[in-house]
Each structure stands twice: as structure tokens, then as C-alpha cells.
């Protein structure tokens, strides 16, 4: 086992060396050093084991065991994915404002930015690093919020950044249509791995909606290791939807890290449907007064899927508000983990933090491990959390049955209603419709089976 992991790391190291030589951005000295240092850190950390508290309920051995071949963007290989095939991963609202990534690499020929206003920069991250206009700004922000010292997967991603997105929303710019970052894995070779990387900087008083989606073109096993960093300046507003619909054989490990400026607002909704094993670390830092965030999510898993959410909401300054609602529906032998930390630091008075995690178990073999945590070091605060694991309410079922609704249908209605609390808040119609359909399909499949 040990030798297995070592071998695996060597494989990543080899890919890393290859990458260092190939990409032009390595010419930028600081970027090369950053990657070197992240690789060193990854080598020190190794993949986490269940002995570590943060990974207690999620065993990443399948990821370390599989011989993944880093799907580094080979410049000359045009993937099978054509724009028609990709259409099913797009959203109509974002037809003229989407960046398409195949195996982590930005494909400008498949992307369209016609509908994006002038105050928005949306380009390849590595190209932006090499660009004098943005180089300094990126240097300031990249890998600052998502700390690679503590998390091996973040370190691995940082070491292997070879493409990705740099999004800059300039002062006062308001985006009407959502910006879609469409990550598609097209595993032409089995066991490929991709490293999506995104840096979003929302300048003062800007307003935008960003959709981040993950999907696979076929049911092969592949590994997505993503890191998204978000910086909100004074008064900026960002709505962020993450829709994870990877193939059922895929492995998805992602970190989202947001730094909230004064009076900014960050509204995030994470939907986890796909992947055999998915892990999402979301970290919201409120280091300035008056910030507000919503960190919501829904996970719907069945058969032998495993999904894990680790969230940290860090109240460092007074007068910040956070809301969190995570719901889960589990069927088959699936497992879900929710670990939500709320920190209220010394002096962060008048904090208002609310956290809820609710889980619905549809099968006898499903398992939930939930751990909502509060760490509070200020006295004039309002903090509450709640967690529940259970089934549909007997009374509600009974009520529907008295109205002549078939018991099975009544169950479906209530399950659908359970998910709707999260789905209903999504403001992009096509995402909501897509998720509604997906939830109904899952439920119907159950009814037929």
C-alpha cells in the first residue's frame, strides 16, 4: 500500500516535470516557483488517510490506487468533443457568455464571450499570468486564499496548473447574463486526471453570476481535481452556482475558497449529483465588516456514491452575517458526509450565523455522518446550528394519502419538496429546470425499480 502511494506520487511528479518544461508561463519566474513549492508540499503531505480528522469519513484510497494519467492538455490532440456534443452541457442563458474547458484546458474555439460586457476579463489563467496587464494582480491573489499547505489536493492542483480561467469583473460592472465556466471531461484515455483552476476577482460594487459546472462525456473513470478562488472587493456581489454532474465512475475533489471584502455579498449554491466519490471543501473568509454570505448546497446520491462536504465559515470581523443550508437525499448504499465549521473569532461581535444540515435517508443501507461545529470566541453574537437525519414525516405522508394520493407518489412529492428548498432559490431558470428534472428522474427511477 505504501509503495503504491509512493509510486503514484512519482507518477504525478513525472507529469509535473513534463509540464514545467512545456508551458510557456513557466517562464514567469514567480509562477514556476509557486508550482515548485506546491509540488514540494504535495510530496511532503502525500494523499490524506482516514486517520486525519478532516478525512475521517472519506477514504481516498481509490484515487491513490488508480493509475491516473494526467490529462495534460496535449496541444495537437483535438479531442472528440465537438460543439454539438458539448451543447448538452451548456445553459441557454449563458450561450454567449461561456468558457468551455475540455479536461481542464480552455478551448477558445468552443467558447463564446459575445454577450460579456467590456468591464469583464475572462481569459485563460496561464495566458493571463504571462500577460503584463494582469500578471501582478494574479501574483497577488493566486494561491493566497486556497492554502495549499494544509490540503494535499489543493497542493497538487497548484503544482499542476496548466490552464484554467481568470475572471476579472471591473469596478461597478454589472453582468446581466450569467458567466458559465463549463468543465467537461472527455476521457479519451482511461483514468485521466484534470486540474481545473479558476481565479475570480470581483472589483468594487460589481455584480455577477458565475456558473461552474462539471460533467463527463462518458462513464469512464477519471479524476477531477479543481480549485476555485474568489476575491470580492468592497460592495461586490457574486452569485455562484456549482453544479457537479460528473460521470458515475468519476472522482471529484474540489476546493472553493472565497475572501469577502467589506459589505460584499457572496451567494453560493453547490449541487452534487455525480461522481463515485466527491469531496468539496468550501471556505468563506469574512475578514471585513458588513459582509454577508449564503453557503447552500444539495447532494443527491444513490447506489455506491460517496459525497463529502467540508465547509468553513470564518467570521473574523464584526457585523457579518452567514446563512447555511445543506440538504442531502441518500439512496442505495450511498454515503454522505457533512462537516460544517463556523468560527467566530475574538472581537467579531454582532455576528449572525445560522447553519442547517438535513438529510433524508431513502434506503436502509445509506449512511450519513454529519458534524456541524461552532467555535465561538465572542459574546455578543447570534449563532445556531441544527442537523437532522431522518425519513419523510409520517403525518405529511398520511395527509397526502387522505387526499387520495398514492403512497408512492406521496413519497416522491415530499422528497421532491425536500430538495426544492435548495433548488428553488436558484435564479438561473435552466439550472433549476435541469435539477428539477434530475431529481424527478432519480425519484421516478426508484418508483419503477
Amino acid at each position: 500500500m505504501v509503495s503504491q502511494i509512493v509510486k503514484e506520487e512519482n507518477q504525478y511528479q513525472a507529469a509535473f516535470r513534463q509540464l514545467q518544461q512545456r508551458t510557456t508561463a513557466s517562464d514567469v519566474a514567480w509562477f514556476g516557483r509557486l508550482r515548485e513549492s506546491a509540488m514540494d508540499r504535495f510530496e511532503q503531505l502525500g494523499f490524506p488517510s482516514v486517520k486525519e480528522e478532516e478525512w475521517k469519513y472519506t477514504n481516498v484510497a481509490p484515487i491513490t490506487k488508480l493509475t491516473f494519467d494526467p490529462a495534460l492538455p496535449a496541444i495537437d490532440v483535438d479531442s472528440l468533443a465537438t460543439s454539438t456534443e458539448l451543447a448538452r452541457f451548456g445553459y441557454p442563458e449563458a450561450q454567449t457568455s461561456q468558457l468551455v474547458f475540455v479536461n481542464g484546458a480552455l478551448r477558445s474555439n468552443l467558447s463564446s464571450l459575445a454577450g460579456v460586457p467590456a468591464g469583464v476579463v475572462a481569459i485563460d489563467l496561464v495566458e493571463a499570468i504571462a500577460d503584463a496587464k494582469y500578471g501582478e494582480l494574479i501574483r497577488e491573489q493566486l494561491a493566497r486564499s486556497a492554502d495549499y499547505n494544509a490540503n494535499a489536493f489543493t497542493a497538487l492542483n497548484t503544482a499542476c496548473v496548466s490552464s484554467g480561467a481568470f475572471i476579472l469583473i471591473r469596478k461597478g460592472t454589472e453582468l446581466e447574463s450569467p458567466l458559465h465556466l463549463n468543465f467537461v471531461s472527455d476521457p479519451s484515455a482511461p483514468n485521466s486526471v484534470s486540474f481545473p483552476r479558476v481565479l475570480i476577482i470581483s472589483e468594487e460594487n460589481s455584480r455577477a453570476t458565475v456558473i461552474e459546472s462539471y460533467a463527463g462525456t462518458n462513464d469512464a473513470a477519471y479524476f477531477t481535481n479543481a480549485v476555485v478562488e474568489i476575491v470580492l472587493k468592497d460592495g461586490a456581489r457574486l452569485e455562484h452556482y456549482k453544479v457537479q454532474r460528473e460521470s458515475v465512475e468519476a472522482y471529484h475533489v474540489a476546493t472553493t475558497s472565497a475572501d469577502l471584502g467589506p459589505n460584499s455579498s457572496y451567494d453560493s449554491t453547490t449541487i452534487n449529483f455525480g461522481a463515485r466519490l466527491s469531496r468539496h471543501d468550501i471556505h468563506v473568509k469574512m475578514a471585513h465588516e458588513g459582509a454577508e454570505c449564503w453557503v447552500d448546497g444539495l447532494y443527491v446520491v444513490s447506489s455506491d456514491q460517496h459525497t463529502d462536504t467540508h465547509s468553513v465559515i470564518d467570521h473574523q470581523q464584526p457585523h457579518c452575517t452567514s446563512h447555511q443550508l445543506y440538504k442531502g437525499i441518500l439512496d442505495g448504499k450511498s454515503r454522505a458526509v457533512f462537516n460544517g465549521k463556523i468560527f467566530v473569532r475574538h472581537g467579531a461581535q454582532k455576528t449572525d450565523a445560522m447553519q442547517t444540515n438535513k438529510n433524508l435517508l431513502l434506503s436502509d443501507e445509506a449512511r450519513v455522518d454529519t458534524k456541524p461545529q461552532l467555535e465561538i470566541l465572542a459574546d455578543d453574537v447570534k449563532c445556531a446550528h441544527g442537523a437532522a437525519v431522518g425519513q419523510l414525516e409520517e403525518d405529511e405522508l398520511f395527509y397526502l394519502e387522505t387526499r387520495g394520493i398514492h403512497p408512492e407518489l406521496a413519497k416522491n412529492l415530499l422528497t421532491y419538496g425536500f430538495a426544492e428548498e435548495v433548488i428553488g432559490k436558484i435564479k438561473v431558470d435552466s439550472i433549476r429546470e435541469q435539477l428539477d428534472e434530475a431529481v424527478l428522474n432519480r425519484i421516478n427511477a426508484r418508483l419503477e425499480a
Binding site: 454529519t370 458534524k371 456541524p372 461545529q373 461552532l374 465572542a378 459574546d379 437532522a388 431522518g390
Partner: protein
């Protein structure tokens, strides 16, 4: 709340030292120490084996320093006295033979050991440093078939029962402190309620540490046979010393079919001074096993003392329809630290558990709730309800909640709620404009906050607990 930070506790009332000659073994811990303790107590061979097994395992274990939310300097296990007994006549046939100095000490603590003076209806086992000095009402209890005596006596008189149940809930290798206790425990209480007997009086143990150099390691074992009932109380105090002392106890409860055990603790060990000098390290393993169908174990604790509390009274709900309960008030002030909570392990069908935890943190103290609710696949139709509320007094204190919830079947329901708040100014204002003094108002609000837990305590203890809480926070808030 402008003067909210003005926290001054009343002087610790039980901080006196009893001047008594004691039989003390040299410092340090080795296999010889373990053998010496066993020899001092004239223990049978099987008991020594139990101790040595625990000791050898303890050597391989590491202190749980990383996961609890506690910080303290390294404990030197070699710089401690593992056995210290007050010198007195060899065998005490009646109370008249107990050293008057000891009787005086307990009287001063409010625990008269002479039966005439006692609150009727409470039998007391008094433990002074390492040994039990007196047990009251033994004869009366015996008439009902109830065995209540010191652990040493139980090993001599009821070896079969001890061999059967000792270590059956907390095995010797359970955790670092339990292993240490199993190796060096010196005394404690044993109580056995036979089939169908409802124990006619409350049983209690009063723990007193007197020697500044010694740790206290005692064990309590309570066995409730089919259909029996017992209510058990535990109280503790210690003198004021600048040095920290270790108290590592183990409590095991076993409830067979239809039996009920109610275990209440008012813990008031010396908590150290305002700067955090001195005080007891209270590292205790308490666990109950609902072994039989329809059995019930209920833990109630009021934790106000100790420099550090590390304690998780737990229930293993093995029998179908069994019930586990945990009611806790933990108050920390000054530099105190508490990491306390419970574990409810649901194994049997239709098992139910309730957790109510109230944490109050004042001064620069740190108060954490840590709990586990685990519902195993076979524990169908199980229920858990957890509520943990924290109250912060002053901006330098900390309150944390670490609940672990693991559910492995779909017919069970688990709910967890937690909130953090402070004494609201509106509440204070309302009470004050009704003519209630600020201090009384604060005490009223805090007692209201803890009411759910105090209601579970036997009457005498509830009164004691309310008084204690008021005293601890006196002049503090407001």
C-alpha cells in the same frame, strides 16, 4: 452590559486542608508501584493481573492531547503519588472508630457521616484521597439485598460479582486515562441492586482529595439487576493548592432487563485561581451499558469545578427499547477549560436517547461540548434528540460545539440543535424594573437557562447546584 466583564467569584469554600497523618507511598509509577498498591490492599492474584495488564497496555498508549480542545503543560506521571491513605485503625467496625479528624472534615464539607445527623434517605460512601473511610447505612441497605460498600471491601467480599462486571463496560485498554486508572486505582464504590429491588434510599459517594502530591484514581461500579432501580449521587471537592492534581476515575454502570440507573454528579473540584494556577485535572471515563431490554441509564452532571474537565459520560444502548439520557450543565470561569459531552451508541432496536447540554463560559475560560450519536445498522427505529446551548459572559470566553452524528439506517431519526447566546439586556432590564437586583436577575436568568438539567437532579442536589452556580458567578455579571 457595561460591567459584564467584572467577574469575581466567591472564595472557594472547600479549599481547606485536613491535617492528618497519612500512609503515602513514594512518588513514581512502575510495575512495582502497581504491585505495591495491590499488596497494600491485600488483593487477590486476579486483581493484580488485571492491574498489570492495564499497566502494560498503558505503557503503549499516548495521552490524548491533540483532539480535545484543551491546553495544559505536560503531565509528569513519575512525579505523582499513586497511593495516599489517612492513617487510622485497621478495621472500622462502626462509625465510632473512624478518625474524628476525618469525621470533622466531612462534617465541614456538609457531609455528616454519623447516621443520626444525616439527611434521612441518603447513604454515603466517603472517599478520602485514595481510600474509602466510611460507608453509611450499610446494614439497612443489606436488609433489602442492596450491596453498597467500598471497592476494596467488594473485592474481598464479592469477588464473583467484581470479576464478572469489572472492566466489562470500560475495558482496561479503553483509553489512556482509563488504562492508568485500571492499573493504579485505589478504592471507590461498589453497588449492586438485586432483581426487582427498588433501592430504598439515594446512594452517594463523596470524593475528597487532601494530599497535594497525590492523584486520585477511584472506580465506581454499579450493577442493577432485572427490574431494579437506583439513584446514585456523586460529589467532590479538594483543597486549594498551587499545583495541579490529577483525578482519573472510571465509572461503569450496568443495567439489565427493565432496570434503571440514575447517576447524578455535582462536581466542584478546586478550579485553580483566577490566573489558572493550581486546580484539578478531571480526566474521567464514565460509561453505562444498557445491557437488557427496556433498561434505562440517565446521566446528570453539574460541572462547576476543575481546572480542566475531560469527561464524556456515555451510554451503550445494547438492549432493545433501552433509553439513554444525558443532562449536563458545565460552567467555566476564569482560566478553566472544559471539553465535555457524551456518546450515545445505539445498537438495539427502538432505542432512544436524549442529550441536553448547557454550557456557560465566563472570564477567559473555554467551554466545549463534544458528543457522538452513532446509530448502527441494526438499531432500527431509534431516536435521538440533542440540544446544546451555550451562554457566553464576557468577550474573552469561548464556547464550542463539536457534535458527531453517524446514522446507518433509514428508520431512525436524529436531531441536533445548538445555539449560542448571551444574557440579553432586555431580560435584565425587565427584571430590574420589577425591583429585582441585578445579581438576582442574572442568577434567575442563568438558573432558567439550566432549568432543563436541574429538574433532573434529586431535590437536595438541585438546591445545591443552584446555590453553587449562583456562588460561582456572584458579583460577576450585570
Amino acid at each position: 452590559m457595561s460591567t459584564a466583564e467584572n467577574l469575581v467569584s466567591q472564595e472557594y469554600k472547600y479549599g481547606f486542608v485536613t491535617d492528618i497523618e497519612s500512609d503515602t507511598i513514594p512518588r513514581g509509577l512502575s510495575e512495582d508501584t502497581v504491585r505495591l498498591i495491590a499488596a497494600k490492599k491485600n488483593e487477590p492474584e486476579w486483581m493484580l493481573e488485571f492491574r498489570l495488564k492495564a499497566y502494560r497496555h498503558w505503557l503503549t498508549m499516548t495521552e490524548p492531547k491533540h483532539w480535545p480542545n484543551l491546553t495544559y503543560p505536560e503531565i509528569n506521571y513519575q512525579d505523582m503519588i499513586y497511593y495516599s491513605a489517612p492513617k487510622q485503625k485497621a478495621l472500622k467496625a462502626s462509625m465510632d472508630e473512624v478518625d474524628p479528624e476525618l469525621l470533622k472534615t466531612f462534617e465541614k464539607l456538609g457531609i455528616p457521616l454519623t447516621e443520626q445527623k444525616q439527611l434521612a434517605g441518603v447513604a454515603v460512601d466517603a472517599v478520602f484521597d485514595s481510600v474509602s473511610v466510611a460507608t453509611t447505612y450499610k446494614e439497612k441497605l443489606k436488609k433489602h439485598g442492596v450491596i453498597f460498600c467500598s471497592f476494596s471491601e467488594a473485592i474481598r467480599e464479592y469477588p464473583d460479582l467484581i470479576r464478572k462486571y469489572l472492566g466489562s463496560v470500560v475495558p482496561t485498554n479503553d483509553n489512556f486515562f482509563a488504562a492508568l486508572n485500571s492499573a493504579v486505582f485505589s478504592d471507590g464504590s461498589f453497588c449492586f441492586i438485586p432483581k426487582g429491588v427498588r433501592c430504598p434510599m439515594e446512594l452517594s459517594t463523596y470524593f475528597r482529595i487532601n494530599n497535594s502530591e497525590s492523584g486520585q484514581f477511584e472506580r465506581t461500579l454499579i450493577v442493577a439487576e432485572e427490574g431494579s432501580y437506583v439513584s446514585y449521587l456523586e460529589g467532590c471537592t479538594a483543597p486549594k493548592f498551587d499545583k495541579n492534581q490529577l483525578h482519573a476515575a472510571v465509572v461503569e454502570l450496568i443495567a439489565l432487563d427493565d432496570a434503571q440507573i440514575k447517576y447524578s454528579t455535582v462536581q466542584n473540584w478546586y478550579a485553580g485561581d483566577e490566573e489558572g494556577r493550581g486546580g484539578i485535572y478531571n480526566f474521567v471515563t464514565k460509561r453505562g451499558k444498557c445491557a437488557g431490554r427496556n433498561s434505562k441509564i440517565s446521566w446528570t452532571q453539574v460541572e462547576t469545578g476543575s481546572a480542566i474537565t475531560w469527561k464524556y459520560p456515555s451510554c451503550i444502548l445494547l438492549g432493545d427499547n433501552s433509553i439513554g439520557e444525558f443532562y449536563s450543565v458545565a460552567l467555566t470561569n476564569h482560566a478553566q477549560q472544559a471539553d465535555t459531552g457524551t456518546k450515545m451508541i445505539h445498537l438495539g432496536k427502538n432505542t432512544r436517547s436524549t442529550i441536553i447540554s448547557k454550557g456557560i463560559a465566563a472570564g477567559k475560560s473555554n467551554n466545549s461540548y463534544r458528543g457522538l450519536v452513532k446509530v448502527m445498522p441494526k438499531a432500527e427505529n431509534s431516536r435521538n434528540y440533542t440540544q446544546c446551548d451555550s451562554m457566553l459572559i464576557g468577550s474573552n470566553s469561548g464556547a464550542n460545539t463539536f457534535p458527531y452524528i453517524e446514522v446507518m439506517n433509514n428508520s431512525s431519526a436524529v436531531e441536533h440543535e445548538a445555539s449560542t447566546s448571551k444574557i440579553s439586556e432586555e431580560q435584565l432590564f425587565y427584571l430590574q424594573q420589577r425591583g429585582i437586583s441585578q445579581e438576582d436577575a442574572v442568577s434567575l436568568i442563568i438558573n432558567g437557562f439550566c432549568k432543563d438539567v436541574f429538574l433532573q437532579l434529586p431535590m437536595e442536589f438541585a438546591v445545591e447546584a443552584q446555590r453553587l452556580l449562583g456562588m460561582k458567578l456572584e458579583g460577576s455579571v450585570g
